[in-house]
């Protein structure tokens, strides 16, 4: 078992967990992820390594409860753990000294952009960060992002915190004002957000590196379930990615593939909630 040693409720649906996994912690680099499985019946769930502590031998995972597996994960407590945890998976993000880099995180993926932004900062770059969420409640790690960014812009869809805007607005402003200066944009978040960032940057001819979150099965290159089209070529996100040049991604295909199991996912949530109610009724929870 991979034990949970710390748990924090960031908001009603966002949870943070620190898990003992020394071998993964030792190797982890920004941009990589792990696959976890709660128990024998569990699904294999990919999660970004939001942080790691090589000395303590732990990795930090931040996730949003969106379906059966993440809801179930949210009920785990310190002392409990995951039956399986494999990683670090995927290629690390390429981090060089480029000058100025924009780092964008949307919703729970702010935790995923964090190690990347911190890596760029440590490599001597000027880091301009933009983070956003639907509302204040769904923002995570604002202080952490503040600490490692040269400039931080916070936006929410409803204006309940920071500026009322989508992340693309401050992005456009930055690009317009400082296009010559900005070497690269990194964006992690829901597919529509990443797609919009790519479209925003298009006229400026600036690379946008995105981290794709397809459905995964094994995470080792064995099934092809995670495939996407990048510049017309089929690529496996788990082994060829998860980072790709956003300008080359076939977004519509990606989003269609993400939605393939929607019916089953809804059914699984309903089934899970029913079971929880039954257990609660029996007084077992």
């Amino acid at each position: 078992m991979y034990e949970i040693v710390y748990k924090e409720t960031l908001s009603e649906s966002n949870k943070l967990m620190v898990v003992i996994a020394p071998e993964v912690a030792r190797k982890a680099k920004p941009g990589q992820f792990v696959i976890v499985r709660i128990d024998e019946q569990g699904e294999r769930i990919p999660l970004t390594i939001a942080d790691y502590d090589r000395d303590a031998g732990t990795v930090t995972l931040v996730f949003q409860e969106v379906g059966k597996s993440t809801m179930h994960m949210g009920t785990l407590t310190v002392g409990e753990g995951f039956r399986d945890l494999v990683g670090p998976l995927g290629h690390p993000t390429e981090i060089d000294e480029l000058g100025t880099v924009v780092c964008i995180g949307g919703g729970v993926a702010i935790a995923a952009i964090y190690p990347i932004a911190r890596g760029f900062k440590a490599a001597g770059n000027q880091v301009l960060s933009i983070i956003g969420a639907r509302n204040r409640e769904l923002l995570v790690w604002t202080e952490r992002m503040e600490a490692i960014s040269d400039e931080l812009t916070v936006v929410t869809d409803d204006g309940s915190y920071g500026r009322r805007a989508l992340v693309t607005e401050p992005l456009r402003e930055l690009l317009e004002a400082r296009a010559g200066e900005i070497a690269e944009v990194h964006a992690v978040g829901p597919a529509p957000m990443m797609k919009a960032c790519v479209q925003t940057a298009q006229p400026f001819d600036i690379p946008v590196i995105v981290s794709l979150n397809t459905v995964m099965v094994d995470g080792t290159g064995m099934c092809g379930g995670c495939r996407v089209e990048i510049g017309g070529e089929t690529r496996f996100v788990c082994v060829d990615g998860p980072s790709f040049d956003g300008h080359l991604v076939d977004w519509d295909m990606l989003m269609a593939r993400q939605a393939f199991y929607r019916e089953e996912e809804q059914y699984a949530v309903a089934h899970w909630q029913k079971e929880c109610r039954l257990l609660a009724a029996k007084g077992e929870v």
Partner: protein, 484 residues
Amino acid sequence: MSKFSMKERLEIPRQEMPTQNPEARRANFAEVTLGYTPELMLREAQRCLQCREPACVKGCPVGVKIPEFIAALCDEDLPRAVAEMKARNVMPAICGRVCPQETQCEALCILAKRGEPVAIGRLERYVGDYELEERVCPSSVRATPTGRRVAIVGSGPAGLTCAAALAGKGHDVTVFEALQSLGGVLGYGIPEFRLPKQVVQDEIDCLVQGLEIEVRLNTLIGRTFTVEELLEEEGYEAIFISSGAGLPNMVRIPGINLNGVMSANEFLTRVNLKKGYRFPEYDTPVKVGKKVAVIGAGNVAMDAARCALRLGTMRAQSNGGVPPEVHIVYRRSMDEVPARYEEFEHAREEGVHFNFLVNPVRIYGNERRAVSGMRVQRMELGEPDSSGRRRPLPIPGAEYDMDVDMVIMALGTRPNPLVFQDAARLERTKWGTVVADEETGKTTACPIWAGGDVVTGAATVISAMGAGQRAAASIDAYLGTGEW
């Protein structure tokens, strides 16, 4: 043994093995073949002529002592049969079920000339099942510990066989497995109804019992550790790479990335490893279409087709829908079907449709980017190609559409290159397989050995086990003498 004359032996017909009837089994995942009863076993065993120079043995990649184990069966001395078997093959319950006997041992049996070889595989399975049921696993006594450390990469039949043999010699063996459970293809590929997972589990337990083999699941070599790190930092003195050939080949035809097109690996992994057929009790969902096309006609294709048939039928029965239509689409003819003959027959009995001499050229999608049909090209057979099989050639202009809503690709696999991260000194072929000596398993880089599908490309369970055994002998010799 001498109860029967030659003539009497020749008069006994080959004994069929009882099976679940096709109607019932297409709606469940229980094992199709039920195994011999003691009576059937005995009659079949009595057919063996006990040849002094048994040709059958030459057809077995590990040289199972076939007449010897069958003689023990005739004497109804099962412990002896187990011992004779285990001298060469440590997984008889598995191999008896999945070996392509008709092209291996049984092909060369002297009685094959008369059309009915001894059912060596079925007898082998009987021995294996007896052993598992009675728990008479020969207690593999571990030799005096040597303190020498060997790493095995991948826990399929090649890796496990090698691990058991080396641990038996007293070496300190660690098996690194990327997935959540042991067994490789035996666990995630071959379905329950053909190879029950309990049999796999029991036979593996039996194999490693008494041997202190360290198992590290969820450890992906190439990422969690690289091969070179295992040698330089983790203190292993020898490495056996048995990571199989798990990377699916996806053809480049229009529509290949639509929803509803998947590799057989994805489909079978969802069904077998993650028990998708028990969703929502198990969390991983698996979809199945109403009209499914499986491209290819090897074991993998048969397995995918029969899983699709079962899932679809079970669903139709639970919600009152129509049972699915499942098609095998193969560009050669029936004579070239590479699957085990028994699986091909079983698939036909269950109602899988076979479309020979057709090849997909494009997959159509609807507005939701899901499969809505497939265009196929008719083929004819030309001259034999390098594999000796007649080459399929398109018949110009002969194309038509098939009405399907799911397409499963079962067109072969290649080794997964992840494991070679940082191991550039390992020579590989243009197909991505590792170059290794057939007799010893030595690669071009000391002290690294390799065997099984990662060397041969997709092959068989028993050939992978043979490679594991031979490599173990070579590794043991190397650890003893230090000579590469």
